[in-house]
Amino acid sequence: LRAPAHRHVDAVFDALADPTRRRVVETLARGGTVTASGLAAQLPITRQAVAKHLAQLDDAGLVQRADAPGREVRYALRPGALGEAAGWMRDAEAAWDGRLGRLKVAVERR
């Protein structure tokens, strides 16, 4: 039953296909939590746009709402989602290393 997990990895790569969302993830990777307003102050986009990106990252499981006092929702990184995507990449790299090694042998023995 690998399909649902893989669909989740797809959602992660989909979320990370956008440069603004990658910047949000990088910012969160430094630790701590952020609000849409706080991020908008650092990025050249509106608070509304940041809130939309945070919602998409939330849907992909890359961020989670943090328990914190205050009026505005605070988000923190969910490292597990990045780990799954990294796992997909490592599997794909290992598979291609194997295939390219066999390709080299198949071509050079001719």
Binding site: R2, A3, H6, R7, V9, D10, F13, D14, L16, A17, P19, R22, V25, E26, A29, G31, L77, P79, L82, G83, A85, A86, W88, M89, R90, A92, E93, W96, D97, R99, L100, G101, R102, L103, K104, V105, A106, V107, E108, R110
Partner: protein, 149 residues
């Protein structure tokens, strides 16, 4: 052997999620045959490979229970061979081989990038990850240690 101009280094922004390469002591023509002939593909890719080597042609790769199928996207003789593939019920990836002539052989680079229905469905690769593959691996690694510490 014909020497081509050094292709301009791709900007970091164009790096796909997965990129691997190997040096092969053979001409690009010999490599091309091994990449695009279904009998040759069965020597290294998987025990069973069906390929219709035309743009839009089908590709099917079977290794026991592991089955993938897709469609040929790019076919530039002796230089570039790209296709999409997916396992049943899973997301599609775009795979592309690039062959570069070097003194004494060829450099073969393969890239693989997950594609997404949510983004554009047009040109394969339009949803490439723009330099973030190695970054994601480093981040994931750093975070794991941060959590353990």
């Amino acid at each position: 052997m014909k020497l081509r101009d050094e292709t301009p280094k791709q900007a970091d922004e164009k790096t796909p999620w997965v990129e691997r390469e190997t040096m092969i002591e053979a001409s690009p023509e010999e490599v091309w045959e091994a990449l695009t002939d279904e009998d040759r593909l069965e020597e290294w890719m998987a025990p069973e490979v069906d390929l219709d080597p035309v743009e839009g042609g089908g590709i099917a790769v079977r290794d026991g229970d592991d089955q993938r199928s897709g469609k040929v996207e790019t076919l530039e003789e002796n230089e570039r061979f790209g296709f999409t593939w997916s396992r049943p019920g899973e997301g599609e990836s775009f795979v592309e081989f690039m062959i570069e002539a070097l003194p004494g052989g060829s450099r073969v680079t393969v890239v693989e990038t997950p594609l997404h229905s949510a983004a554009t469905n047009t040109a394969a690769g339009s949803t490439m990850a723009f330099g973030w593959g190695p970054r994601l691996l480093r981040l994931s690694h750093t975070l794991r240690f941060a959590l353990v510490a």
